[in-house]
């Protein structure tokens, strides 16, 4: 492929798609539920469990309601994109593959300083942790690189390697742009701000001021109740409905983030909410892992 250099935002994504497609990954589309991180897509969090091989790459919009800045901060967004790669089991040359992807988007490792700096990843709301690094390019964190060790409180075997690229930040670096809204989205003059600035303004206002806390709370509890309900229901092959159950965990998790942005979660309540989500997630993880080990049940 020969795109105009430096790559536009969308060509950056297309280049990564092309690169990881050549490495044998399934190229997925974003999951259609609001999530706080690409890891939460079932293609990562659930597929990391169980014995089956799996290679996937996708873009996932990430919603962080509390990070909104009404479009006024050049680096902070309440909605941004992560590029997510999962390779299970992780191949021996995964670091080289990763560096190859950076070279593909125009980061020459003989010109830039690439470093693997210790960063142990954990996500308490899904009971997951792993060891790895944040990857620095000239002092800037461009990716998170993790070897999963546990998901949903369960040990993983085989181990999956996960890569998460912060796309806006990476694009800003590649394009040499200081303000995210100035990113070239395509090669036809459309800027990132043209696409998303209004989005940031409206959602920042909604996240911080407009969402109805009582409604959010009620919805959270509704979603919470749905998880065990779906897990108790059986599909056509007699399997528990773990995938719909997990969707409701994601919804509960996003509702929690919205309540948090509204300042509706007291410090003392915080741990208890996170614990509730983690427990639901664990139930799903256990059921999914069981189904993966016993294909007859799925």
């Amino acid at each position: 492929m020969s795109y105009v250099q430096p790559l536009s935002f969308q060509n950056l994504i297309l280049t990564l798609h092309d690169y990881w497609s050549r490495q044998g990954c399934v190229i997925l589309q974003p999951y259609d539920i609001e999530v706080g991180a690409g890891t939460l897509h079932p293609a990562t969090v659930l597929r990391a469990l169980g014995p089956k091989e799996w290679k996937a790459a996708y873009v996932q919009p990430s919603r962080r309601p509390a990070d909104g800045r009404f479009g006024e901060n050049p680096n902070r967004l309440q909605h941004y994109y992560q590029y997510q790669v999962i390779l299970k089991p992780n191949p021996r040359n995964m670091q080289a593959l990763y560096l190859g992807s950076l070279a593909a988007i125009g980061l020459d490792p003989t010109l830039h300083d690439m470093r693997f700096v210790e960063d142990d990843w954990e996500n308490p709301t899904v009971g997951a942790w792993g060891l790895g690094w944040e990857v620095w390019c000239d002092g800037m964190e461009v990716s998170q690189y993790t070897y999963f060790q546990q998901v949903g409180g369960l040990d993983v075997d085989p181990v999956a390697g996960e890569l998460t690229y912060g796309l806006e930040r990476l694009a800003m670096y590649v394009q040499g742009v200081d303000n995210v809204y100035d990113l070239r989205f395509n090669d036809e003059g459309v800027k990132y701000g043209d696409v998303f600035l209004e989005n940031e303004r409206q959602f920042s206002a909604a996240n911080f001021e407009a969402f109805d806390v009582e409604v959010l709370k009620r919805q959270f509890e509704d979603m919470e109740r749905q998880v065990p309900r779906f897990l108790a229901m059986k599909g056509p092959q007699g399997q528990a409905l773990v995938l719909p159950a997990y969707d409701h965990v994601l919804k509960a998790s996003h509702l929690f983030n919205l309540m948090d942005a509204r300042g509706a979660i007291a410090v003392a309540e915080r741990q208890s909410y996170i614990g509730r989500i983690r427990d639901l997630c664990k139930l799903c993880a256990q059921e999914w892992e069981r189904q993966q080990r016993e294909p007859s049940a799925a």
Binding site: N75, P89, N90, P91, R92, Q95, P109, T110, L111, H112, D113, M114, R115, F116, V117, E118, D120, G130, L131, G132, W133, C137, D138, G139, M140, Y147, Q149, D157, P158, V159, G161, Y173, D178, A266, V267, A268
Partner: protein
């Protein structure tokens, strides 16, 4: 003699773990080689971002043949025992040796070839390696700090062949990830290995990497008339982040220099691992930074410098945003927010904690010469910076930022300084606060922490001290001693407990003052032991029930000096003798009360001791009331001669009851006189 070379090549090892890994590798190899009966000439290890390396010089090609002696049953033991022993050893009865009525089997063991032993050693080292955190990868079952990619193992110029969980040993390794040839190279001895690494841009030795950084950095700074702000911890860290460390001097936008220098340095250090740079003429930070890259870039580092400058600008813009925003609100206005912050589920909110510290600081202030109102004001604002954006971003700047913000608001310097310094001392290397208001708030902060966590039974156990109570106690002790602050520990602990109990939600539990006091005693012992004082002396002084830290230490020091004199040592021996006699008598019944007198029949030595005891009593008390402990002990020393002479010539257990009781009274008086200075019975020796 032959050489062993081992390299464990992995993905990037966290910088903070490398030095310990080199020590662990050395220890484990040493233990295992010794166990195999080897005595190598030299053993050295290296650790870097992607490799652990071991070189052992002077190993024989095989173990010596060894004789092992096994102890068997006694001669004349039941035949089954002997049969079992013969079966176990594979020998006949005529091959056993008889010694001291016991059978011994001598088994000749042929020495095994060294490579066999090395293969087993490497396998066991890898599997038992004590990484602080380790992981699995792929489909393997092995654990290592990050995926282990290669094992290079050569002995005497030959590959030692084995595999560990599917990773086969060989003679291949790799150079620098980007600057090396890109192809693995072979090495079967250390010279070839070191040469290969050097040719492929890997500095193997951490000292070499540090020297590259430091010399390179200083040269870059010198060329622009700047000075590196040295930082040893940071140097250690960056030396573990690059195989070919290459310093790069970059430019920072000068307008950031109006931020507090601590903010700039913390941002540089924690987020970016940059060294700060200063102007040698003024000593102030210069608008530059020094980053350490892992490559010599083909454009001379211009791209890297520009990229890093951009990242730093973004970081410092964040910091400036916090700095500007934070100053728009007074510290006082942030207190409300602390009501929503839990300090500890059982100890209430941060706001309640502030209320307690305020009350406590107000009461402590007169003891330390501080104005109670200023102390209360400073205590009230001490934690307000927890709600600021800057402290949210850089928790390690707590206190310091509060101090800046207090000054920016125009609060009195004494208040701003106390807000800034009240966490001090934060470790053994940190100084204690000196200004009276700061001292009052610092003490209140720590005493509230201690009594609170003791009240809810969250005491440190073993190596676990999640609320840093040991540090808090040590802080109180150091402040008292270094500032010569006088207070009764029991009193202030009591005040702290009372204040907590008076809070509406504060009725949960009560710290046991004896427990808190003995916790302090333990910390003091540790501190004094570090200063070379004997811990039994601390016990001897603590037993008196004194709780004034300054006085306790003065007593311990005087006591230590006294016991180093000949008089002191001998008097201690005399004291022990006296107490042993008294204890034996006490078992029979109560000791006779009252003072000893000069009985007409008394031998001269008894009379002399009676006189001496009565003569020292007054002066000892006078000296003690002046807190002249050395004086008290010098006075006590006058007892030494009479005590020695008494025990030499006089029999305490006289047949005559009057004489015996008088002598027991006399010894009781000696014990009591000395007991006013310290409990000598707790002193060893």
């Amino acid at each position: 003699m032959p050489q062993l070379l081992l390299e464990l090549f992995s993905e990037e090892i966290p910088a903070r773990m490398q030095a310990q890994a080199a020590r662990d590798l050395e220890r484990m190899a040493r233990e295992r080689l010794a166990e195999a009966g080897f005595l190598p000439e030299a053993l050295k290890t290296f650790a870097g971002p992607r490799r652990l390396t071991l070189v052992v010089e002077g190993l024989p090609v095989a173990q010596n043949d060894r004789k092992e002696e096994l102890k068997g049953p006694k001669v004349g033991a039941p035949p089954q025992a002997l049969e079992g022993f013969l079966r176990k050893t594979g020998l006949g009865q005529d091959q056993l040796v008889e010694r001291d009525g016991v059978y011994f089997a001598v088994i000749e063991k042929a020495g095994r070839p060294t490579p066999q032993i090395v293969a087993e050693m490497v396998d066991s080292i890898i599997r038992a390696f004590p990484w602080p955190k380790s992981m699995k990868w792929g489909r393997g079952t092995l654990r290592w700090v990050r995926p282990l990619q290669r094992i290079l193992c050569a002995f005497d110029g030959e590959v030692v062949t084995f595999d560990v969980d599917g990773i086969e040993s060989g003679d291949l390794t790799e150079g620098h990830r980007f600057m090396g040839s890109g192809r693995p190279f072979r090495a079967r001895d250390f010279d070839a290995y070191a040469a290969g690494l050097a040719a492929n841009f890997v500095a193997l030795d951490v000292e070499e990497r540090k020297a590259r950084i430091l010399e390179g950095a200083k040269t870059l700074c010198f060329a622009r008339d700047l000075e590196l702000v040295e930082d040893e911890g940071l140097l250690d860290e960056v030396a573990g982040l690059a195989e070919w460390p290459t310093p790069i001097l970059g430019d920072m936008e000068p307008h950031f220099l109006d931020l507090p220098p601590e903010v700039i340095r913390t941002s540089m250090r924690t987020h970016q691992k940059y060294f700060a740079v200063r102007d040698p003429a003024t000593g102030k930070l210069a608008p530059n930074f020094l980053a350490v890259a892992n490559i010599e870039a083909k454009d001379g580092g211009a791209t890297i410098a520009a990229g890093n400058a951009k990242v730093l600008s973004a970081r410092l813009s964040d910091a400036r945003f916090f700095w500007d925003e934070d100053r728009k609100h007074s510290l006082e206005s942030r207190l409300e927010k602390l009501k929503g912050v839990t300090f500890h589920a059982k100890l209430g909110t941060m706001y309640q904690r502030v209320e307690r510290i305020v009350a406590l600081a107000r009461e402590i202030a007169p003891l330390v010469g501080a104005d109670p109102e200023l102390a209360a004001q400073a205590a009230r604002l001490a934690k307000a910076d927890l709600g600021t954006g800057m402290v949210g971003e850089f928790p390690e700047l707590q206190g310091l930022m509060g101090g800046y913000y207090a000054r920016a608001e125009g609060l009195p310097d004494a208040v701003a300084d106390a807000v800034r310094d009240h966490y001090k001392p934060q470790g053994p290397g940190d100084s204690v606060p000196t200004a009276p208001v700061s001292v009052a708030v610092a003490l209140a902060d720590k005493l509230d922490t201690l009594t609170g966590f003791f009240a809810i039974d969250e005491k440190p156990t073993g190596s676990k001290d999640p609320f840093a109570l040991r540090r808090a106690a040590l802080g109180v002790i150091r402040i008292a001693l270094e500032q010569k602050v006088r207070f009764g520990l029991r009193d202030v602990v009591g005040v702290a407990s009372r204040i907590r109990a008076e809070q509406p939600a504060g009725a949960l539990g009560k710290a046991n003052p004896d427990e808190v006091l003995s916790f302090f005693a333990d910390r003091l012992k540790v501190l004094l032991r570090e200063q070379g004082r004997r811990h039994d002396l601390v016990d001897a002084v603590f037993a008196l029930g004194d709780d004034d830290l300054v006085r306790i230490v003065a007593r311990v020091e005087a006591l230590d000096g006294f016991l180093h004199t000949e008089d002191g040592a001998n008097l201690l021996a005399g004291y022990k003798r006296a107490t042993n006699i008294l204890k034996a008598e006490e078992k029979k019944g109560p000791l006779p009360e009252g003072a000893a007198i000069r009985l007409p029949v008394a031998p001269a030595e008894e009379a002399a001791l009676v006189d001496a005891v009565h003569a020292v009593s007054g002066p000892v008390n006078d000296a003690l009331s002046r807190e002249d402990f050395a004086g008290a002990m010098t006075t006590l020393a006058k007892l030494r001669g009479p005590v020695d002479a008494f025990f030499d010539k006089v029999l305490v257990n006289a047949d005559d009851k009057t004489e015996r009781e008088n002598r027991l009274r006399l010894l009781s008086e000696v014990r009591a006189a000395m007991g006013r200075v310290a409990d000598f019975s707790l002193i060893a020796g």
